[in-house]
């Protein structure tokens, strides 16, 4: 078995966190833009633009993370599997689950005070 390719392995292992980072940056950037341009009262499909944007970003992020978690879960190590591949799979799943926590928790403010003021 040859050495696994470095960038795909690392991207997979850290995938959940990379998604979290993108979601967090996206939510913060959209909020900053909307509030700096005083568009906080606008609505999209009947929902305030802030909760709408954050909600959309959160849903996309959760789907992406769920995919990574599902792949890692399916490849979850069985007894007797060699050490390194089982390490990579279990880490990918753990990281994805932690990312889910972060993504969900970070969306909570949009539920409670989605205002610019």
């Amino acid at each position: 078995m040859s050495e696994p390719r470095f960038i795909p392995t690392v991207a997979y292992l850290l995938g959940g966190m990379i998604v979290w980072a993108g979601a967090f940056a996206g939510a913060y950037a959209v909020t900053a833009l909307v509030c700096a341009r005083r568009l906080g009262d606008a609505a999209v499909l009947g929902i305030g633009v802030l909760p709408f944007s954050v909600g959309l970003i959160t849903i996309v992020a959760l789907i992406a993370t769920a995919i990574i978690a599902a792949v890692a879960y399916r490849r979850w190590p069985k007894p007797g599997d060699p050490d390194l591949p089982s390490f990579v799979q279990s880490m990918a799943l753990f990281v994805a689950l932690m990312a889910v926590l972060g993504i969900v928790w970070n969306a909570v403010p949009a539920l409670f005070f989605a205002t610019c003021a």
Binding site: M17, A32, M91, V95, M98, T115
Partner: protein, 841 residues
Amino acid sequence: MSLPNPAPRPDDEVDRLEAIWDPPKGWRFLSVVSNTYIGLFYIGAGILFFVLAGILALIMRTQLAVPDNDLVGHALFNQLFTVHGTMMMFLFAVPIVEAVAIFLLPNMLGARDLPFPRLSAYAFWAYFTGGLIFFSTLFFGLAPDGGWFFYPPLTSYEFSPGHNADFYLLGIGFIEISALAGAIEIVVGVMRTRAPGMSLDRIPIFAWAMLVFAGMVIIAFPALIVGTMLLEMERAFHWPFFIADKGGDALLWQHLFWFFGHPEVYIIFLPAAGMVSMMVPAMAGTPLVGYRLVVLALLATGFFSFGLWVHHMFATGLPKMSLGFFSAASMAVAIPSGIQVFAWIATIAAGKLRLTVPSLFVLGFLFIFTLGGLTGVMVAMVPYDWQVHDTYFVVAHLHYVLIGGAVFPLFGAFYFWAPLASSRPLSETLGRWAFGLMFVGVNVAFFPMHITGLLGMPRRVYTYPAGLGWDDLNMLSTVGAFMIAAGVAVFLLDVARNFRPNTKANAGNVWNASTLEWLPTGTYSVRSVPVITSRDPIWDQPNLVEDVTGGHYYLPGAPTGSRETIVTSPVEARPDYVQQIPGSSFAPMLAAFGTAGFFIALTVKMVVLSLAFGVVGVAAMIYWAWANDPGPTVEPTDVGGGLMLPVYMTGPKSHSWWAMISLILIVAMIFSSTVLSYFYLWLVNPDAWPPENVTLPAIGWPGLTGLVYLASSGLVVLSGVMVRRHGDHQGHVVPLLLALAVLLLLGASLIEVWTQYQAGLRPAAHSYGAIVYMVSVVQGQCVAVVMIMGLFTAARHIVGKLDGVRRVTLDNTALFWHYTVAQGIVGLLLVHLFPRLLGAE
């Protein structure tokens, strides 16, 4: 498995290793570069700066011990708290964890040295010189006085006209260089120079922590670099990044600083946590419980810590929802920290903890850091933070987490790993006294500050009136501060009495710990490079110690006659090649003095002197780099068991390529921070982007500039093709191509500046002009570096040190070149297209 070199080794093999690895004698000793010595110098310097900054704290606490005191006036007090904070954060906390890593990592990973020893030496000398100069500004009344986070407008030219502020901005430039150099070293070292078989799942937790540390430094420090560059340009040339009247915004500094500043504290904490993860299993005599969860915690903390920075800005009037995101993330980051704490508790429960001095410091850390973490979650609540912001409550919190989270593990680490560097371990008795005084002292000093803060005492005040209920609490804090000092003094006494530096006959594995740094070593580090099959090799692999010291594993000798280590693949740690490591040299020290002189002279506006130092520094670096890229000096060599390894590598498998990629990431972050600053300034200037009187240059100009950039890259590609195809048989065509490419690159960057100037844009008039020119300044720095690299590469070819096989210099130069061209083009798209997208003409 069978040993690679089972037969007895020749008698003179160790002597030859020693001849190659032993440091020079006499005054030439100062030219050492190997990690053991540089690591020790670095640790010593870190402790020195800790003591100096601590003395400043004692002076402040004496001033604050009683109300209406007049020991120290307000001007000096401002300098004291600024220098105390800056030194502790920049000259002690980050450098010392890097220092411990430089000292420990190669041994812990089974390597003979770090991959770039002269870079570590440079980083050390730059840091040491810069740090001493920074501290000494106090004696000339030139110390910075704007607080360690240095907010404009107070620190800009109007309100801080003297040189003091420039000493801060240019002073921390050194530290940035040292920290980033160390980060590159650590990434490449941990990823590429591990013992064969030490796959990702077997790396010691301290090495994982340093890897996350290095990644965080690479992402976070550039924001600080950009912030300090912007503020210095504003101070020196009045480019108005932070001046509201001219389209700037003081909050831009805060964003840039805290995007660095919050990860900075985790940069400090994670290595300390890594040290604890090494000490606890050794002291409990059992492997770490939850290895994968601890790795998860390190990775998650590293990522989440980048989402917290605005919690330092809760009181600035930002939109509530934005504050909410950061409040949520600040709570979330407690989860991975908690995972580590539970892993340690579980390990202690699974084993039998010996109550040695390192254990005591670990227990002290758990108590103090947890308390600090709890107050951290309190201040993560926005309304609560509004109450305690800028009061002593925050001072209490930050000292609990920093002293608990970094200083205590560090002192434990000194006691734990001293036997590796000294022929005698430190004293258990003196260690207990040091611990006791420090533990009680920290609580006596800082616990009352929670109350003082809630009673309303603000930070940074040099005195306070009597009768507000603060008097006794301040006196108590002062007493505690002196207790801490007494504890540190006992530690220093212990070091003086017992620490006897010895790289050939250290005290040995006194704790019966399990990881590779505890193997017997000489100046050559390990006698042979072992094959690893476990996370706790000394416990799990029978006869490991005897087989390593008998030279029965890989590379027991020195096939190229120079210093070497084995470079392995990043995921599974399969041997890739033998790296020829550079030996002792004065060039890094000279380069460091040149760098230091350049920055210091620039600070006091002595431009000619500054340039002279700069030339010395660059010349030393060129001399240093000339010794790089030795080529394949011998044929692929048998390192043992028939394993033939080349002694030279170029391209993506080369350790130097990995260093270039790390450098590119750093530069890309600097550029990204500049781009984000551009967008931020646009956000705060909705009606003036660009301002009324500014016309954009015709679109043809950036088009031309982009083509010139691409042509420059094309010539470099052509050079590479010619070198690969024709080796050294094509005369001077390649150097000419490279020289032409250099001119095109320079030309492109100058055309852009010229077209903006011709269009009437001036940087000092409005923040729009300032940031547009700043994009060119950042690009210009890269262009200058590439020009030197290009001419250097051309020179290598002319003298025959570059050919079809020996081409690391060209390959690495080309990599950075293409990045610089791409960065230049992105910059053009930004400043020329974005305003047009908004409707400007």
